[in-house]
Symmetry: C3
Subunit: 335 residues, 3 copies
């Protein structure tokens, strides 16, 4: 199957078979196989509107290992701030329209990868993913999502790690648990975990405090995935029930959507929820589950050192898989 | 003809034939021709005192495509702030003298490219181009101007685009028009447009409001170019006359030189000049002219969406040509 | 002898023979010898917690010239701020623990190079070199110190420069002199100069004002080096005596350790010490000594233009040697 030239904005645009094909190629690449330099001479623009360690490292190094070159650009910092909306009179901060920036990058590069977090002031706006949507609209080359309101590259790495440690994911019990964090964070990884686990037919539980529901768009999509793939989706606030029998525990903190823009209020609500931390007592309820997290991960805030340093912890493997799955993805889209 | 080892600080240091030679090589490179890796193993330092999207991308990717490697340095941000003046007691902000920085870079790299905008407080100082001048003074390797008070790489891309769309530029009517912008911007691209269009024998009109004259140094140089190349130079504030019969309209905003350092006052003057925007009515006066701009470009401020989205718009082609002309330039200077 | 897989945190972990081996390979590399691409396909992470010009350029370009690729990361700026301490509840600024960041980078890269200056508030903490120590602790790949509380790569470049200009360093007179600077700077290069000069058997004098002693840890180590290598170590505040007969003068400013965290007070003390500047009168007392400095170097503050521009000045050679010695080091550690 050819994925050549396609965007990778969300895994929902890809079939289970297509995603599995990418993961299978990643296995081969990890083993040192695959063609030597499938992207020889090719260029990839990496647009970072937000910080990055793993994403930056794995994309830049991955392109080098594939024979190409990645150029890192930070609009608003070392490049010009950009306007994504059509038809506006650009007399504000933005010096450049996404329409121009994207079309120019497409003349230079073979693909564009974008990290652009929400602004966390108004979810109704954030959920439109305005920057990525605009870039994808104007781009004539593949656009890759490096985290906006979903994080599909992380999904691939997560699913690869599940496959490595649990074998066939179908019908395995996947727990996505909310955890406390001092700030109200992006829902992207949580949305993504719900999407990919259901896409691969797992029995999925989302454990979150009341008021911390994910956007219905993603819950519905996950529900449809589950239906199509023979898995299931449960949303609960019952910690004990959620952990019981889980095969894989995935932790993530996120801000409460109804409070976007009112973070001081949300902080009060959140302050009572520190007991969601992943600890040894909770892990004992599981079916000897593996634990993972997308990193960065605050220790003794989201997870205790005891769990993070136990053999169950898979987050370093998951991070490593970022490199392999992204190389497979780039080989497929740009190759 | 050999350009090997020369600086590229301004196109005025080069003959028409030398510039045409670079553009002809760029045509070959754009077609996929030219030697495969003329800069194999070579290094280029990119010094960015100011932000960049296209310049950064095209130089970094260009070096990769030529077989070399570019290192991006941002003095004052991720590298040390620098002092360009001789003989000073360095007890202020600058940790490093340009004399040392330049000589060290020359030991490491095969060339140095520099972006350093004016400070916009005192044109008498800015017009000395102190940082670039100092770097060129101490450098033993080719120094390339990536925009200071002129922007010669943009000139090459502009002229290439004119050649692609109008054929032989000689005696074609080139209009450089001032436009409004919320800030008082650099005159570099305007100076450069005047230089390159006259250098290639075009009939050139500079349209600007009273009080927005370019530095006489560039107007005089353009006048001499025109004389030598059989073209002409007109400076006017008559919008209608300027547009009439034009073959190529090039827009740029810049700050009024007499007001450098008194930007609040200048802003009042500029506020009455929004009607200089490039719009469809003005374009109708032309000889079916092409329109371009150096980017970034504020839509509906400098140019209406209607013109920017019309088939006359050439700015994406011009931006693409940055890559090709710079690769040709690098091959000639460092090859 | 194989240095493969070892950390390069301080030259004290290496024998004189091992260091000499690296310098000998660097000579070969400088001459254009050595194997062509000993690090073909390999990756190096460059972690910059502080600014850099030479270090950044020489490591990034060096990796390219060796066939590999370096990825530049700036934690706290374009990557996440990091926590080096064990067992803490991470509810402060740091989003990521060094334990995770390091282990992930080790999955991606073949080595990690780190620049992390002290915080200059509390030397008792700074001298533990917490960030580098933590990274080295968790890393399974070679870790290279790009300047923390010592600067061992600079040491290699310095000693190479001494060898180039003085021949065999043993028993040559090396003067490390404190100089004034408007800020209280890192002691790293001073510590390092004391270590490497004694390691190579030189007769070493440290000239500093009363109250500006280096940490006894380094003075003791230098004293032991001197004993083992047949050289000597003298610490003095007598300027004339110190300069008399010197073969090599190395200048550096540093803050007074007892005043760490009380910089306004230290500034008063320091204000009376501007006469430590390296000038022609002092240089006349020497045995026609060469002069060098690690760069960046404030002219007419640490050294007069007269000396800096004299044939005795070696700092550009020393800076160039950064590239060659680091390539030799990388080839030995990662090859």
């Amino acid at each position: 199957m050819s994925l050549r030239g396609r965007n990778f904005l969300t895994t929902q645009d890809f079939t289970h078979a297509e995603l599995k094909d990418i993961l299978d190629l990643a296995v081969e690449i990890k083993r040192g196989g695959g063609s030597a330099h499938p992207l020889k001479g090719k260029g990839l623009a990496l647009l970072f509107f937000n910080p990055s360690l793993r994403t930056r490292s794995s994309f830049e190094l991955g392109m080098f290992q594939l024979g190409g070159h990645a150029v890192v650009l930070a609009p608003g910092k070392d490049a010009w701030p950009m306007e994504p909306r059509e038809g506006v009179v650009m007399d504000g901060e933005a010096e450049e329209h996404v329409k121009e920036a994207t079309r120019v990058l497409c003349r230079f590069f073979d693909g564009i990868a974008v990290r652009c977090f929400p602004k966390f002031q108004n979810w109704a706006e954030d959920r439109l993913d305005p920057m990525l949507t605009a870039i994808a609209k104007y781009s004539t080359k593949p656009v890759i999502n490096m985290e906006t309101i979903v994080h599909p590259c992380q999904e691939l790495a997560l699913m690869q790690t599940i496959r490595e440690h649990l074998g066939e994911p179908r019908k395995k019990k996947f727990l996505l648990t909310w955890t406390w964090h001092p700030k109200g964070l992006n829902t992207a990884v949580a949305n993504s975990a719900a999407l990919i686990s259901t896409k691969f037919g797992m029995d999925v539980t989302i454990l979150r405090p009341e008021g911390y529901d994910l956007d219905p768009r993603y819950v519905e999509a996950a529900r449809e995935n589950a239906k199509a793939q023979g898995g299931s989706l449960t949303v609960t606030s019952d910690i004990e029930a959620a952990y019981r029998g889980a095969d894989f525990v995935y932790a993530k903190s996120w801000g409460a959507i109804p409070y976007f823009g009112r973070w001081e209020e949300e902080k009060q609500v959140r302050a009572g929820l520190k007991h969601f931390i992943v600890d040894a007592a909770k892990m004992k309820l599981t079916n000897n589950a593996r634990f993972s997290h997308c990193l960065p991960m605050r220790r003794n805030v989201k997870v205790t050192d005891e769990v993070a340093d136990s053999p169950a912890a898979m987050f370093i493997d998951e991070a490593e898989n970022r490199l392999h799955v992204q190389k497979a993805l780039l080989a497929r889209l740009l190759g």
